[in-house]
Symmetry: C2
Amino acid sequence: MTVDPNFLSALMILKLEGVFTLTGEERQALHDLPMRVVVLKTNQDIVHIGECPLQSFLVLEGFASSYKLTADGVRQIVALHIPGDAPDLQTLHLKRIDCSFASISPCKVGFFQLDDLRRICERHPRLSAAFWRETLVDASILREWVVNVGRRDAYTRVAHLLCEFLVRLKAVGLVENSAFDFPITQANLADATGISAVHMSRALKALREDGLIQTRRMHLAVPDWAKLVNAGDFDPFYLHLGVNAAAGFRPAPQPKAAAL
Amino acid sequence: MTVDPNFLSALMILKLEGVFTLTGEERQALHDLPMRVVVLKTNQDIVHIGECPLQSFLVLEGFASSYKLTADGVRQIVALHIPGDAPDLQTLHLKRIDCSFASISPCKVGFFQLDDLRRICERHPRLSAAFWRETLVDASILREWVVNVGRRDAYTRVAHLLCEFLVRLKAVGLVENSAFDFPITQANLADATGISAVHMSRALKALREDGLIQTRRMHLAVPDWAKLVNAGDFDPFYLHLGVNAAAGFRPAPQPKAAAL
DNA sequence: TCCAAGGCATAACGTATGTTATGTGGCAAG
DNA sequence: CTTGCCACATAACATACGTTATGCCTTGGA
């Protein structure tokens, strides 16, 4: 996959447009944000917990993770990031960063100055709101992850993660025929779901044998989407995708409005 | 505990002042936000997942939870809320709410109109940023919860949750002599840590026997804070408390700044 | 005063998952 | 072409935790 030279416009704008239509001015402001592109190999640290960075970054190609370590050095991935994501937008308002970020596949990221982004937010309140919204969606995903890790067995948990992956990748156009590049090791998947690497191997085997997924080296296919959704207890609503992006994934109904 | 009639000023302002000093105007704007106070018994639903509410709420007294259910009806609490918290601030930018909210003790909440808050955000960018920051801290707590549930054993997990509770309660002045009111059932604690109620009973017993906590009906005391922190693998940094609020809890050092 | 309900403790038992170990194949570096 | 590394598979074994069940105690309502 190659990326348009105007990275920000290509990816972030795509995401924001899913929610509301940008004005020409807003689009231009994003387009003009200076970015420094950096190419990374697998398993390279991008930002480390405790730092007080002056810049933030965007994933342009490949996959990245947010992670934390426990006292005895066990890793838990707390978020997976795909092209178009701004993993550490939080640094905009939280000085010290509370988790580490690393590439989990060969990947390309774009750094920009937080001060530049702050200026954009001041001048374009709608963009500011849109970025805020992005961080709120991240929080929603975290809530679902707590449920996933806390209350679902390994099989369901893995199916759920794969569902989330597919929907999010589809939203940025990285899925073809229910299949996508998947250069993520089982160890990383294990760290993201809170199980051991050995058990991740078992879970994937079971999913394969049940015909829910097909894995061919660094590539994953989903032959029966409905079955995987069912196995993973998956409802994409928590991703808060724009209507365009979610086409074909949303189930049906809207519950009634609040009372009280 | 009784609450000042100016709920918002008493609680939310206290929290915000931990981060930066409000101007008189900003303080007044918050003070003038119309609120409708509602008294709740234990286990009452406040907002239900899927709704598109026009109002949001603040916890004034007692404790509340955010929770989700899996397909087979198992509950996972994804956040615990104490007085001063605005549990569903997300509704400001996400139309449909992605988790349910309920009281988990007798409690008092204050509802306000989202439109009123939006108006405040438009007129007072610093307040807008402060609210954004609040939601980012919530996300940071969620990240730590994913680690807690995903990678720590029950004993450590419970100790960690109790540490978090103590620090957060202390920040709003609800702790005396390392002890606090704790009207939360073991079943709720179990749902918050992703373990069974039976095992929660076992874990609490172990903590009691190790002298890390003392429980006297609806009341919890921590005789040796350092030991509990150690047992819970707890570092309060992720709570992003203001320096004032965190006094006495922060460990020492600041890591070096970012490079790259 | 009594009863019902819920919160808690504890025991017996089952199991999903972790741990440790070994072998295979692919791939990159020399 | 080797060599070594790493991702993955699989087996044997260990265990933390879930489940089901029972009983006690407190609390609040009739």
